[in-house]
Amino acid sequence: MPATLTEKILARASGRDAVSPGEMITVKVDLAMAHDSSGPRRWKARLEALGTGLWDPSRVVLVSDHYVPAVDAESAAILKLTREFARDYGVKNFYDMRGICHVMLAEHGHARPGLFIAGGDSHSTNAGAFGCYAAGFGATDMTAIVATGETWTVVPETVRVEISGALSQGVTAKDIMLALCRDLGMGNHFRAIEYGGEAVRALDMEQRTVLANMAAELGGETGIIEPDAVTLAHVRGHGGEVDEAALTLWRSDPDCTYAHTHHLDAGALEPQIAAPHSPANAAPVSVHAGIAIDQAYIGACVGAKLSDLHMAAAVLKGRTVSARTRLLVAPASAKVTEAAAKDGTLAILTEAGAVMLPSGCGACAGLGAGLLAEGEVCLSSTNRNFQGRMGHKDAQVYLGSPYAVAAGAVAGEITDPRPFLTANRKAA
């Protein structure tokens, strides 16, 4: 029977020839990932109560990214517990303050086509860009997973998002996702979101992860992209092994059944801005142009990878941050910082007036530096603008692409980033 990519992975993981949407299945987990907030601090006492350890420490990835670096004794204790757990339970894949967990899976070749990945974080969907089933789970589910190597799921229907055409200059994967949050809503619960089409194939892996990452904002169980040569080259270039057969094995069949197919013309898309307090409040940037901003924030798994910093630099080169605004940049990983230092990107950002912050979830998760006061307005490259998430409950957070955030930082207000890129190209 023709099957979607998600159904094929779930069939393999459950040891069946085929599965159908609605079926309850038990699956073997290929990789379990968690961070300092959701992982060891929530697992340790439970595992001790069960009298067991990890089912397979080599299949567990731990990352300290939420409370890094420690800002008080409480966060320091959480990080200490995480380190001791990794040591005592034999977790070799432990990335301590090296960057955000989803970026770690991509940077170290852990995410590969066909895998079933369970992550202790809602944006675990991020890894689906590599053609695997990757979903978020809470701490008790994750405890069961790391203790037994198994979990249950109900096979989801798949929604296909077909993106045709080519993105125009200054329009990004982030703009695609904000537009989709508006058009598809946030209620696609218990459904897989599969992205395809020429505009998706034209994206590099970093930008493809933006689509998979923000499947979480659509309410999706997972976001998934069929692997191609770009996927395999990335995995192999980052220490992962993947067989060429993945290209034929991990694809949706041409006559498979989707819940529905949503079409988007990338060529017609403008830069998008999502107004408080929901990513679904997205509209073309012109709708919100002129709103003064106190803070511009470039950070998070979705919005501070190397390509995101390159976007910001393309706007900021030769310009300075407005006197009425502050620009904060928290690179998504130590490797991103290193690469951005080498290629001159960091110098462009700091010469423009950006303040550099540690790599981690930081203000996006309401932690660390860069939180907002009552009534302050922030334009952010992150994925969520829920009320109170980034500081005071009466702060206002708008979401946009790294281009839009950098342009906002220069203008001191929300503005269309495209003229900044055109002007810089002429000057160059």
Binding site: G120, G187, H189, R389, K393
Partner: protein, 173 residues
């Protein structure tokens, strides 16, 4: 216990995990974190909610983070069930895993703030004692109901590991 009774606390769509368990308080213990539940939309909730009360809301309840504390905080405060038009997947699993029933039911025009509710999980009935109306609700699937009755996923796991430990290694199973 399959019958629960309490007053309705009514909210709208998209009650997200940051409203249920604010990020800045996430490093605190469960009791202190629970004091911040829903404070951005209803500062009175955490101090006034009574054991047995039910949280009633619209679409996409629990959207956002995987933080299990969003469900744990409600249970800590004594909330006996969450009734909402629809639930985010991770929140739904978290709630069931810790033994907090999550019932998919559209409250529009059927439940008002403060109504006295009685939820009979086994019978799949929701009674609004204030209006004397009674509704059939989508039952929780049997395998999940069994988990709730066993005390949640941890209790289920304890049974599993206890039986594994009782089996000598290498013996046929």
């Amino acid at each position: 216990m399959s019958v629960r009774e309490g007053n309705a606390w009514l909210y709208g769509d998209r009650i997200d995990t940051d409203l249920l368990a604010p990020g800045y308080a996430m490093k605190k213990g469960p009791a202190e974190l629970a004091r911040h539940t829903l404070e951005a939309v209803d500062p009175a909730f955490a101090t006034s909610v009574q054991p047995g009360d039910m949280v009633v809301a619209g679409a996409d309840f629990g959207i956002g983070s995987s933080r299990e504390q969003a469900a744990i905080s409600l249970k800590t405060l004594g909330v006996s069930a969450v009734i909402a038009t629809s639930f985010a997947r991770i929140f739904y699993r978290n709630a069931i895993n810790i033994g907090l029933p999550a019932i998919s039911f559209d409250p529009e025009g059927r439940i008002s703030a403060g109504d006295r509710l009685r939820l009979d999980l086994a019978a799949g009935r929701l009674h609004n004692l204030t209006t004397s109306a009674s509704f059939a609700v989508t039952p929780i699937p049997p395998h999940l109901m069994a988990m709730i009755e066993a005390g949640g996923l941890m209790a289920h796991l304890k049974q599993r590991f206890a039986s594994t430990a009782a089996t000598p290694p290498g013996s046929a199973s």
